[in-house]
Amino acid sequence: MDLFEHQGKELFARYGLPVPVGEAAFSADEAVAAAQRLGLPVVVKAQVHTGGRGKAGGVKLAADIDEVRRHAEGILGLDISGHTVRRLWIEQASDIAEEYYASFTLDRSARQHLGMLSAEGGVEIEAVAARAPEAIARIHIDPVDGLSAEQCRHWVRAARIPGAAADSVADVLAALYRVYVDADADLVEVNPLIVTSGGEVVLLDSKVTLDANSTFRHHDYAAYDATQTRDEREQAAHAKGLQYVGLDGSVGVIANGAGLAMSTVDVVNQVGGRPANFLDIGGGANAEVMAGALEVINNDPAVRAILINIFGGITRGEEIAVGIVEATGRVDIDSPIVIRLDGTNAAEGRELLEPHLSDALMMEPTMLDAARRAVDLAGAGDGAGRS
């Protein structure tokens, strides 16, 4: 789950971390009212779950109320890397003297946490890593030990953070690590972490991704879940508890298991088609789940053929076949369906499907054959996809 910048900052503030004072706004009027309460100058910032806001014109300084209104109107509705701006964060402008970078994430290959700190902040860290990898001080943190104050001081020196700010930055890092652990974050990133001309250290931006698996101990995360960026299809699938990712083609994909679903998407591409989605219905394939999946795919106007790719393991082929037949009876499907059914008791399953086969419901013996058939049905010349 991705947090908006302001949600991340509100989380930081709960740990006593210094962030600029601000307010969320959903219209130009709200932005103006917020600026009047906060005092000028303010920064009007687009709240989207993607980077590169500054370059896209999504972050603007406003010296007076007219400017606040003009910028708010300009930024609301702006498209930033496919994300439409619907919310703003209005915050008191900061006076920047220095810009640093700090982050915590999991290093999967070391199987420990990784902290990264650089005195060269305010730019993309990937660019710093490519140009001057020595400018990023990395520290591995054993989750059993945590991060000590002494380690923070060493780390700050290794990153060549100037002496005047060193102690404050070390304190910020220690608190930020607590946020990262307590919040079950996949990523906590602050870029830039600034020093003002008055010598104060302030977290001027936030990028926080939370682990959706941790919601059982964070009951307040439902509020974050409600603000995730999903297209209509993804929203509908999410409501049904389906693992769905929207793509831009015309072949709807249903498979059981994440690996098989990913593989099905690959194979559709390999035989010259374009998948409309990734959809994993999980281990079983009962009629209810299958009907829900078909409904979500059927509501996607770009879909012109549906590929159901099921491999029976513990779940037997005949149960899957019954599920598909029942589901197609419940939902009125606009596109032809191609089924590949293999694995445990596949022969029995196919026999059950046989009497229901038509030019709306087809069966193919292998994954490749089924993908070819579905792509063929979706129509040649499907180069354009969704606009």
């Binding site: 999967r108 698996n213 690996g259 098989l260 990913m262 690959d266 390999q270 694995g343």
Partner: protein
């Protein structure tokens, strides 16, 4: 031979009294696995279809000689369950449970590395391990695998593993052991661990490896293959066409910052000398060719 588990392996199921634990525990027993005990502190002294239930893993182990544990506990209780098994000196802890937070996984893995270096953790969020004809621990459908050899399988994905087992069986090719390492960010057992074990197992003469996008486990496997494997490897990596920044079902399966792409993984594996298929069927065919030439 096989790796990690065989016909002598005695297994205790933590969570045997729950619906999933009971269902798969008894299926595993039907397959021939020595399912000797279950645990549940509130149901000690009872039994599940004849399998005795104990309060703790230590008691179960003392009474039945279990040396491997299989965990079907809901996600919030998983860290404690793993540590309990480790303290009872289980050699292998297989965690089927999905949805365990990554921070819990990292914490427990590092605790084991420090305090219980002799304990092997498999999972969380994995289908388990099967040495066909000998022992099946977890949720793999045992009958889709042909016992014997010469192929060892290691995979990050459940259904693709089943598909691989099934395709090999159709070709009358046997499997020594099939290990599902799971798709989570901090797997207890990695590709490299399994490749090393297969390399050392005299009965395994070729290895099939199924990877997916995200992380760098496949690249590390490629390095190991280049430096240490004498046995041939056929590989497949799912998610070639996955868009960056989107999680594809598994918590680990995400392409971020241009890293963890299937293309990079396939290239690394090819350079390491593995034969890489473009889809699961092709990888299966490559394995058929490899086995024919052994």
């Amino acid at each position: 031979m096989s790796i990690f588990v065989d016909e002598r392996t005695r297994v205790v199921y933590q969570g045997l009294t729950g619906s999933q634990g009971r269902y798969y525990g008894l299926l595993n027993r039907d397959y021939g696995t020595q399912v000797v005990a279950g645990t549940n502190p509130r149901k000690a002294g009872t039994d599940v279809d004849g399998v005795p239930v104990f309060a703790t893993v230590a008691e179960a182990s003392a009474a039945t000689g279990a040396t491997v544990s299989c965990v079907f506990i809901p996600a919030p209780g998983v860290p404690e369950a793993i540590l309990e098994a480790a303290e009872a000196q289980m050699e292998l802890v297989v965690v089927i449970t999905e949805g365990v937070p990554a921070h819990d996984e990292a914490l427990v893995f590092n605790k084991l590395r420090r305090d219980h270096p002799g304990v092997r953790l498999l999972g969380p969020n994995c289908p388990g391990i099967i040495s066909p004809g000998k022992c099946n621990i977890g949720i793999t459908a045992g009958h889709i695998a042909l016992p014997g050899g010469p192929v060892g399988i290691v995979s990050r994905s459940g259904t693709l593993t089943y598909q691989a087992l099934y395709e090999l069986k159709q070709q009358q090719i046997g499997v020594t052991t099939c290990v599902g390492i799971g798709g989570d960010p901090v797997p207890g057992t990695t590709f490299v661990d399994c490749l090393a074990a297969f390399e050392a197992d005299p009965e395994t003469r070729a290895v099939m490896m199924i990877g997916e996008i995200g992380g760098s486990a496949e690249e590390e496997a490629a390095e190991f293959i280049a430096d240490h494997m004498t046995k041939p490897v056929a590989a497949y990596v799912a998610g070639v066409t996955a868009p960056p920044g989107k999680k594809m079902g598994h918590a680990g399966a995400i392409v971020s910052g241009g890293k963890g792409t299937a293309a990079a993984k396939m290239e690394a594996l090819t350079e390491a000398g593995a034969r890489v298929g473009q889809n699961p069927t092709e990888a299966g065919q490559l394995m058929v060719e490899i086995v024919a030439s052994l």
